[in-house]
Amino acid sequence: MHQTTESTDSKPEWSYLEFSEQPLSDSCWSVQTGPDGRVYIAACTEHTGGETATVLRYNEKNQSLESLFELDKVTGDLRDSGRATQCKIHYSFVPDPEKGFLHAATHLSGPPAGEEHYNPWASWSDPTRAFRGSYLISYDTGSDSVVESRLMIPKEGCRCLAFDGERRILYAITYPRDHFVSFRLADGCLTDYGRIGSVNSQCIFLDHKQRAYFFDDRGILLRFDPEDRMLRELPHVYPHADYQTPWHGVIYDAVEAGGSGAVYMVPWKSPPFLARFWPMEGAEGRMESLGMLTQERDATEICSVNLDHVGGLIWGADDRLYFVKSEWTGPCQGGRTSLKTISKLVSFDPSTNRFSEHGCLHSAVGQNHYVSRGAMTSGGEFLFGKILTSPAGVYRVRLPGHPPQTTPKQYLRMWG
């Protein structure tokens, strides 16, 4: 099923904010609303050896970015250590409203200085080059200071993070071993629930009972229950095209519909289908497919999972789902570097089941089809992370008539 999308007259006001103070940055994987209603951004550097990532904050008053801290300096794992670097935050910002903190878990892929690539599997046992591990950085948004930085997952990166604020426990998927782990903030206890597969789920989401959900590489939905600390398979497979197997049906992004309990999801899979999951319905929840989101194409061509892409899910203050999808012209093969690509901001209105387009996002440089994450400021602006260019940056979007937020519950998302 492919969705019909309408164009709207309500064109957004938008701009592109480049990470000009981080000229080597090449990606922005995390954009998250903090407990203070401001948006925090990761300027990542994964393609230049011996570099590190910087955490930025968006200033809504003057529509600018301010640099807060560099990962290597606050973790003590310096960029010139000779090891794989603390090069990014990858879907691993979570707000902590009780403390006013933003927690950030670091990730790997940036090679040591002087190298071009880093293979985390083959270099796992390398005594001098192997990644030290994912550090958890707790940033006090009130005092504007890093209050704690500690090694959370030795030797591995943190692909994605979720936060159970009631129990003060973080959940993460590790990379490269693809283990599901929990980390108790009070005492730093890391519990490993074992390997999931070979393809990381790119997102963990929580329900109202603080149960954690994600998918494995078979496209099967898994649920961790903090009451009995069991990880279970649920009888749901991520929706996919008829000609495909469920393989690689891991979610890319997910957002809750404004406290309703319904969770909207997109996969890290081409072509991406929109799914809606009702975790509180019945013992195992209920899954719906809302159809394919991107353009029709010749399915006999192999299309990059990163070209045929949807990301940046935000639940708007107007009770609509917003996301950014890729669009390109011509055959999709060879699309990573040679195709001219754009991103389109789209909304979905669950009251009518209709999709609406709100215009294109494109910067002056690089390809424009890949948006990672999105977040909303307390003032109701949207920010979307962009990769595929250096320096990287974020798109800032203000939709006409889109209201500001009123309560933290509306804009805080407890997973990266």
């Binding site: 599997w121 083959a122 999931i196 398979e233």
Partner: protein, 376 residues
């Protein structure tokens, strides 16, 4: 992680590109549902006498036995649940029967080791139509609190031997079941709890470093082999493998030695630089392969040229044909009759891994391995 300096790990390593790995799922893909991730940690593997069937056993709650037929028009895996309470299979062997193969295995239930047998799962071919028939798993009534630690079968399939900490036990087939027919006390110094079946007899490694040889068809006594003293403490043997005429031993420090049962001498090979060594095997042409590494393993090829030792890191196992998966925890390994190697994957979501060594390595064969060929 203890890494020796004899050969450093790769500076910019990669996945295995020399030879081919395939991860075989523990199901009939497209037909049956894969077993739960937690019930697929494969910790033990054995081969049928004709090497056409691979039997593997998962450990943990919900342990299972799997039978894989990779050849001809089969190409799938069938499984059965092991008796309730079984958490790990310590040893297993397949005996060739007149109608079907028998599988015997010792398993841990509530801390006690018990002995079971079943038969092969009868499997129909796997393209046009298929079926499976399994038989129940039955327990031997046998009081062996110290456990049965290894098995070896006679070529005719009528007899098999097992070993505990004190005795060698001989079983014979009677009325489609097995009975304990003899016990033979082990020498007072005890033995390393593994059989090493070669074409020159079945060997046991005594704790003092001497090797004992016996033959299941003659059986009543051991003969001591005039071998050099074992070059490292028996307690430090990490893993071992018996091929047609060689027995390969790897120590906890990665040292690799080969005992040649024909010449009766040891050859010292290279040291594997990544520890622990999880599994070692020798192919029919004499090449030695080992899986090593604690959390993410690498495949090593060890030179069998005694005077020019090397241990080549072939990389991290990965499978893309058939299943797409990284092989991070490959442990015990066996060699099939076609020269392929079968690895246990002792991990959640584990598969049976098969490795086809690159044929280009044949030019590196030494006189020793040609000597092996001449004996067959």
């Amino acid at each position: 992680m203890n890494i020796q300096n004899s050969e450093p790990p790769p500076v910019n390593g990669n996945f295995v590109r020399r030879g081919t790995f395939l991860a075989i799922p523990l199901c009939f893909p497209g037909v049956s549902k894969p077993v739960p991730l937690e019930e697929s940690r494969i910790s033990k593997v054995c081969l049928s006498p004709d090497s056409t069937a691979i039997y593997s056993f998962s450990r943990g709650p919900g342990a299972r036995m799997f039978q894989t037929l990779p050849l001809a028009d089969y190409g799938y895996t069938a499984g059965i649940r092991l008796p309730s309470g079984v958490t790990e299979v310590l040893a297993a062997a397949v005996l060739k029967g007149q109608e079907w193969d028998h599988v015997v295995f010792s398993a841990v239930i509530a801390g006690q080791t018990r002995l079971f047998h079943t038969r092969e799962i009868l499997m129909g071919t796997g393209i046009q139509e298929w079926h499976t028939v399994s038989s129940p798993v039955r327990e031997f009534a046998l009081d062996r609190p110290h456990g049965l630690l290894d098995f070896v079968a006679s070529r005719d399939g009528n007899t098999f031997a097992s070993i505990d900490s004190k005795e060698l036990l001989l079983f014979s087939l009677e009325k489609k079941s097995f009975v304990l027919s003899h016990t033979i006390s082990l020498p007072s110094c005890g033995a390393y709890p593994r059989f090493f079946p070669t074409q020159d007899g079945i060997f046991l490694l005594r704790n003092d470093g001497r090797l004992l040889r016996f033959n299941l068809s003659e059986t009543q006594s051991f003969s001591e082999v005039e071998a050099l003293d074992f070059p490292f403490p028996i307690s430090s043997v990490a893993t071992a493998f018996a091929s047609r005429s060689d027995i390969v031993f790897c120590s906890n420090n990665g040292e690799t030695i080969v005992f040649d049962s024909v010449s009766g001498r040891y050859r010292e090979m290279s040291t594997i630089p990544l520890l622990p060594v999880r599994g070692v095997a020798q192919t029919l042409d004499g090449r030695i392969f080992a899986s090593a590494g604690e959390e993410i393993c690498h495949l090593f090829e060890i030179s069998h040229k005694e005077k020019h030792p090397w241990a080549k890191d072939l990389g991290v196992p990965a499978s893309t044909l058939s299943t797409r998966r990284y092989g991070l925890q490959l442990t015990e390994v066996l060699c099939g009759n076609n020269g392929e190697l079968y690895f246990c994957e002792d991990d959640r979501g584990g598969h049976l891994w098969v490795y086809f060594p690159a044929i280009s390595s044949c030019h590196e064969m030494t006189g020793a391995s040609f000597h092996n060929d001449s004996k067959s």
